[in-house]
């Protein structure tokens, strides 16, 4: 069977998602602030982002005379490509997966971390005081939250005994190769392998992973530089942070990178904690909802169901990120560091020890 690369799906989906994601962001913010949001271009302003893109592509390219030109030009490419490469290892369904490397989780963490280099390049090369402040904040923030992010992902790897994203996905559904017990306690003797649905997702399979997910979600917000962790680009104090000097299509690329990052961490969260491409609905006796909504692995139906479940769950978390952005005020810089080093990191270390105990006792 000819297996095509997932690139054919990811790239068009990413562009479409960004166009609609920016529209959704503006509409949701408008709804939260009791406004209408974009209404003029197209039906209910649907074509607003396309119009914005058309405008941006025609804008004059402005690079400040004092800037470091080569770095300035390369930075948006680094930011986008670092995030985009992360998509290469994601499994989209039970058979259609990206690069099947055995250390997918590890690779993903490494490639997400490269994003910060692009941000430092962009801010440093701009030779602008706002950019410089934004960059230093951004770097400190991203590396601080990298630690709890890595530790919370480690909890999942301990429970699943694997670094392979596809293996982790298989464990969370009706096609699990091993028998899955309710809350992963074998002594209870409740076999949930055949039931599937949300009961076999990692957060239900292993209740401690719910707390790991809370840490993961907070840290992933900080990794994306999203509010309430948007200090690097705090509009009211730093103009636009590290991309103050960027305009035209270079700015659009940075924006695309930011939205791609939101989607990437959402997909990663879904794969690790919320059942990956597995169905939400469980099998209840003769009503085999999980089987009906998954399809036999290898068939077209299973590929379509897999993409549907993975993407709908991920887009739900993207929507949650947008909702949080327009609900919470920005943190102060000392609070930001406190949350990461004094709360999330010690809690994550404790969770690892608890997960180890749970795994060995039951």
């Amino acid at each position: 069977m000819l297996m095509l690369t997932t690139l054919l799906f990811i790239l068009p989906f990413l562009v479409l998602y960004t166009i609609l994601g920016i529209y959704a962001e503006r509409k949701i913010s408008a709804f939260i602030q009791d406004r209408l949001g974009p209404m003029e271009v197209g039906y209910y302003g649907l074509a607003q982002t396309v119009a914005d893109l058309l405008k941006l592509i025609q804008k004059e390219d402005i690079i400040p005379t004092v800037a470091d030109k080569p770095l300035f030009k390369v930075a948006p490419i680094v930011i986008f490509v670092a995030v985009f490469t992360g998509f290469s290892v994601l499994p989209l369904s039970s058979t259609w997966m990206g690069a099947g490397i055995a250390t997918g989780v590890f690779f993903l963490l490494a490639i997400i971390a490269l994003d910060v280099i692009g941000i430092i390049m962009a801010g440093w090369s701009s030779n602008n005081k706002f950019s410089m402040l934004g960059t230093m904040r951004s770097a400190a923030q991203i590396i601080s939250y990298e630690v709890p992010l890595g530790l919370s992902i480690l909890c999942v790897c301990m429970v699943c005994e694997s670094l392979d994203l596809q293996k982790i996905s298989y464990q969370q559904g009706i096609y699990s190769p091993e028998t899955q017990y309710f809350l992963s306690i074998e002594a209870l003797g409740i076999d949930v392998t055949a039931i599937g649905g949300f009961l076999s997702w990692n957060i239900f399979r292993m209740p401690l992973l719910f707390f790991a997910w809370v840490i993961f979600f907070i840290a992933s917000l900080a990794e994306c530089n999203r509010a309430p962790f948007d200090l690097p680009e705090a509009e009211s104090e730093l103009v636009a942070g590290f991309h103050t000097e960027y305009s035209g299509f270079r700015f659009a690329i940075i924006m695309l990178g930011e939205y791609a990052m939101m989607l990437l961490v959402s997909i990663l969260g879904v794969i690790l904690f919320f059942g990956s491409w597995n169905s939400l609905l469980p099998n209840i006796g003769a009503i085999r909802l999980a089987t009906w909504t998954s399809g036999e692995p290898g068939t077209t139906a299973s590929t379509l169901w897999g993409i549907f479940w993975l993407m709908s769950k991920s887009l739900f978390f993207v929507a949650t990120q947008i909702w949080i952005r327009w609900t919470y005020p920005r943190l102060r810089v000392d609070q930001l560091m406190n949350v990461s080093w004094k709360y999330l990191t010690p809690f994550a270390l404790g969770l690892i020890i608890l997960c180890g105990f749970w795994k060995l006792i039951f």
């Binding site: 690369t5 985009f84 990298e146 630690v147 890595g150 000097e245 990191t345 105990f357």
Partner: protein
Amino acid sequence: MRLVWVLSLTAMDPRQQYLSDFGEILLFMIAGVLFVVVALLTSRLIRPDRPNAEKLATYESGEEPISVAWTQFNIRFYIIALIFLLFEVEIIFLFPWSTIFANQELIEQTNGAWGWFAFVEMVIFILVLALGLAYAWVNGHLDWIKPEPKPTEYKSPVPREVYNQLNERYRK
């Protein structure tokens, strides 16, 4: 032909399969770079190019920028980076361990000793690093500068009660 080889990941040899998996990652990188470069080139073809000195000046909210922005910055950033490095190296060591410490086969071969031995060893490792975090914490390396808001010195001629009354009236 080469494109078909890259696109169809159906190599028979497992080693070749593994290589082509990394080939796919490379494909994503190339596609990402191409996507951005093509978009920027398209932009270059249709955008105007009329630079002048004011346009190319550094943006500083309308002020004339004084000196460059490449100056020294707070030493705290380096300390945070050092602590980060410490923990990141720890995480690198923890990941391979996480896949093997509760391995059912190894536990059965050693009558359950393997799991607890591997676990206790790693707990000691984690505690040593937690000690490092505690050290940095106690010495105040994790404390960022906390802004202290100062109340304004301005004495308003309008008494405080008038404001409170107004607030009460509109609180509904």
